[in-house]
Symmetry: C2
Subunit: 260 residues, 2 copies
C-alpha cells in the first residue's frame, strides 16, 4: 500500500487538518485499519518532503509506528535515490539505519556505485527502476542498445536488469515494473525469472492487476502490486476514511484472489 | 561550493559537535567566510537526510541563511530526484518553493515527466545528469544507441542532452558533466554549445579543473566547477576551519583565473 499522503487532496479528511501532525494521524489510522490486509507499506518520500522537516518527522513517526504495530509488514522507501558511493552511503544510513526501512527504490542511471552501498546491509532489499509506469519511460528506458555486429540489440531496461542481477541477486534485488506496460511483461519476466517485481500503476494510471497477474508473475507469484490513493484517499468527507480504506483494500485483494 | 557537511569526517571541527545544530553552525561559518569568493552553494541532500528530520531542519536553516546573507549567490539542490509527474511536483514544491533553491539536480531515467514540473517555475533551473563523475557512469550512460540502418548511433548521455534541450532550453537547463571525463568534453560541448555545465569531480575524485577549462568551456565559459570537501573540510582540528576554507577557495579561484 502506497502512503502518498497528500494534505491538499480533495479527499484528505478536513477534520484532521487542525491536528498537530495530520500526516502521521492519517497514516496511523490507515495502518491500524489495513495492516492485516496488506504485505507492505510504501511511503512516497516526496509527499513528506513537500512539508519540510515537519513532513520528514511525520515520515519518521510513521515508520516507527509501522515497525512497532506490524513489524512483519514489509516497508518500502519510495525515494528513487541515485547518487555515487559516499553519497549513496549517507542515503543508506538514513533509510536503512535511522528509519529502519526494509527496502528502497533506486534509479540506476549512475550505475553500480548507486546500488552497492545499499547492498552492504543484510536482510535489506534494493528495488531498481527498470521499466516504469509513467508515459515518458519511453524517452530512455526503451532505447535499443547497439551491441555490435552479429549480436542482438537489447533495450536499456533489459541492460539494467542484467547488470543489477550481477551486483546483487534475487534475494536482495527487486525491480520496478510499471503495470502500464503489459506488452513487455513476458519479456521482462524472461530476463528476471526469480526477482520480485514492485508494480505501480494499477488503477489511477490505467494498469490492470489482472494483466500483471497473467503475464508478469512467476511460479511463486513474485509480485508486489501497489495501490496508493485508490485505497487511502477514496473516501469522501462524509465517510470514515479508514473504514473506506479497509473496504477498498478488501476489494483489491478479493479481485486478485479470485484470479489467482 | 559543495556543502557536503559530514559530522563524522575526521576534519569536522570537534568543538562544534556539542552545539545545538553543528551542521548549521558549520555551514554558517563557511558561508560567512566564502560568499564573496564563490558564485554558488550546492548542499548535497544525503548529508542532511542522514541526520533525519533534524538534518533536514539544518538544511532549511542553511538555505534561509544563504538567501538572507548573499541572495545573489546561486543555489543548487543536489538531490538527484527523479520521479513521475505528481510526485515530481511535490519535490519541486519542496525544493523551489519551501526552500527557495534556484536549481535542482535531476536524474533523467524516467524521462520528461521527471523534469517538466520543475520547468513550470520561472527563473529556476534544472540540472540534468548527463555524464557523471563516478566510475560506474559507464554502466549505462555510455550505452550506444541503435538508431537504425544508415543512422549513426549515439550514446545515452547524448540522447539525454538532445531530449532535455527539447523539454527546456539553455536558459533553464544545465547538465551535470563530471570532471573525470576529459575525453568526452569536446563531444559533449558540441551537443550542448549554449548550456551551463555543473562539473563535479575536481580534486578528490581525480578530475582536473584545467582540463575542464580547456575542453568543456564555451565562449562565455559556461561552467560551474564544484569543489566540496577539498575546500570545506581541509582544515585539521588545530586550525580555524572557516579561515582555511577561505584560503582554499582563494587558491582554487587563483588557479582558475590564472588559466583563463
Amino acid at each position: 500500500m502506497g502512503l502518498d499522503t497528500d494534505l491538499s487532496h480533495k479527499n484528505f479528511p478536513k477534520k484532521l487538518l487542525s491536528s498537530k501532525d495530520p500526516i502521521f494521524d492519517f497514516n496511523k489510522a490507515i495502518v491500524d485499519a489495513t495492516h492485516d490486509l496488506c504485505v507492505a507499506y510504501k511511503p512516497n518520500f516526496a509527499f513528506y518532503e513537500a512539508y519540510g522537516s515537519k513532513g520528514y518527522e511525520s515520515l519518521e513517526k510513521t515508520m516507527e509506528y509501522i515497525n512497532k504495530i506490524c513489524p512483519n509488514n514489509f516497508t518500502i522507501a519510495d525515494a528513487k535515490r541515485g547518487d555515487i558511493g559516499n553519497t549513496s552511503k549517507m542515503y543508506a544510513k538514513s533509510i536503512f539505519e535511522n528509519m529502519n526501512f526494509d527496502s528502497v527504490t533506486l534509479s540506476p542511471f549512475m550505475g553500480s556505485n548507486t546500488v552497492e552501498p545499499f547492498l552492504e546491509y543484510d536482510n535489506k532489499w534494493v528495488i531498481i527502476l527498470a521499466l516504469t509506469s509513467n508515459k515518458s519511460h519511453s524517452d530512455f528506458q526503451l532505447t535499443l542498445r547497439n551491441k555490435g555486429i552479429d549480436k542482438e540489440s537489447s533495450q536499456l531496461f533489459e541492460d539494467v536488469i542484467e547488470k543489477a542481477n550481477k551486483w546483487g541477486n534475487p534475494e536482495n534485488t527487486m525491480f520496478v515494473v510499471g503495470a502500464t506496460n503489459p506488452n513487455y511483461f513476458e519479456k521482462i519476466r524472461a530476463f528476471a525469472p526469480n526477482n520480485f517485481f514492485l508494480v505501480p500503476g494499477v488503477g489511477a494510471q490505467g494498469g490492470s492487476a489482472i494483466d500483471v497477474l497473467e503475464y508478469a508473475r512467476n511460479e511463486d507469484i513474485g509480485l508486489l502490486i501497489n495501490s496508493s490513493r485508490g485505497i487511502t484517499l477514496s473516501a469522501n468527507q462524509n465517510q470514515d476514511f479508514a473504514e473506506v480504506a479497509r473496504k477498498k483494500c478488501l476489494d483489491f485483494n478479493l479481485n486478485i484472489e479470485k484470479y489467482i
